[in-house]
Symmetry: C2
Subunit: 212 residues, 2 copies
């Protein structure tokens, strides 16, 4: 049976590919595209360099694959909203899902940060296309909310950047956060408290709260 054929070899393939992707995400996140070496990735994955290249083709392809995986995770988070929705609920859900992305994929978040730091050579198209459209659509909704007096008339784009940056921080600057707070790692409780804090301050800060 063909299903049995796969059961072993495909199992090995998937196992190796996942190990490579995980190792590469970590190394690229740490050292950036140029700073990462295939040898280093191979060692982190516990495989010979040749084997890594056998699976992924080239360093460039591996990097692109990882970026695409991260963008897919990002997109999965970008649900639609309309003027009918409740600003408080939407903003809170926005902050919470972005924070969840950071918490669940810190390496991917750092990989993304490293890509932007180097000027986003691989993500120009995505930033100037898909993502810009998404931001502008949200921005229009925020503005209509402001017009209806449901929130303060703040610039919606800066507001989106505020949410992105304040959550992203706990992946990208994890080393700093841990060093200053004298922790080994951030617990789920820490994340919950930070998220609550951010929801509280940002919602109140732009005039969106439960009762008036």
């Amino acid at each position: 049976m063909t299903t049995l054929v796969s059961s072993d070899s495909t199992h090995a393939r998937q196992r190796n590919e996942q190990a490579i992707l995980a190792a590469a995400e970590q190394v690229f996140a740490c050292h950036g595209y140029r700073g990462a070496s295939v040898q280093g990735i191979a060692e982190a994955a516990g495989l010979p360099k040749s084997n890594v290249l056998y699976y992924v083709g080239s360093k460039r392809q591996l990097y692109v694959t990882l970026l695409e995986r991260m963008m897919a995770r990002w997109n999965a988070m970008l649900d639609d909203i309309s003027i009918e929705d409740d600003p408080a609920e939407v903003l809170e859900a926005f902050i919470r899902s972005k924070m969840e992305l950071t918490r669940r994929h810190p390496q991917g978040s750092r990989l993304f940060a490293a890509e932007i730091l180097q000027g986003a050579p691989f993500l120009q198209e995505y930033l100037r296309g898909e993502l810009r459209e998404w931001v502008q659509a949200r921005a229009r909704v925020f503005e209509q909310w402001a017009d209806k007096g449901l929130m303060d008339p703040v610039d919606p784009v800066w507001l989106i950047f505020l949410i992105w940056s304040s959550t992203q921080h706990y992946a990208d600057f994890e080393a700093q956060v841990l060093g200053i707070t004298d922790r080994e790692a951030l617990s789920e409780t820490d994340y919950r408290r930070i998220t609550d804090f951010l929801c509280g301050v940002i919602l109140k800060g732009c005039g969106v709260s439960a009762g008036p």
Copy 2:
């Protein structure tokens, strides 16, 4: 005269060293420590590689010099505060000076970000020492303000991280900001508006405003 001796050779030295530091800050910020090459820095500075190494000794020394310069800029921003001060004024000054640091030294800010991204191998000591002390000192003041009812009882450390991250963002993620907002660069006006926005939202968000 010894003063005249310096006038030319020292002039050349200073000119070259500044060119090297500027070029290196850019290249390190873009590609991180590992990803940067001395050859690339030399080309950006318009000098032969040997000449760069003559001045700076080694890639590692050059990197450390740049980090120290950036930490000096950072420290120059960290003024002292006391419980007597007005929370609104202090928080606003905090946000504005951090934003000014970002605006005036984007390359240095990105260099710092790249260092933290790779796990802060060169800055562990600074983070766990000097900077932690500074954060805790501020945090105590914030807590006393909260006790006196001058601001909401938010966790002061998360508040400091909120200010750092939301300002830092405009250096580290500049490529993303420019791509999404369809700009070539952020003008002084943009920076003023963003700063005003951040001051407004954050101060209001933690219950610190002009009048109740």
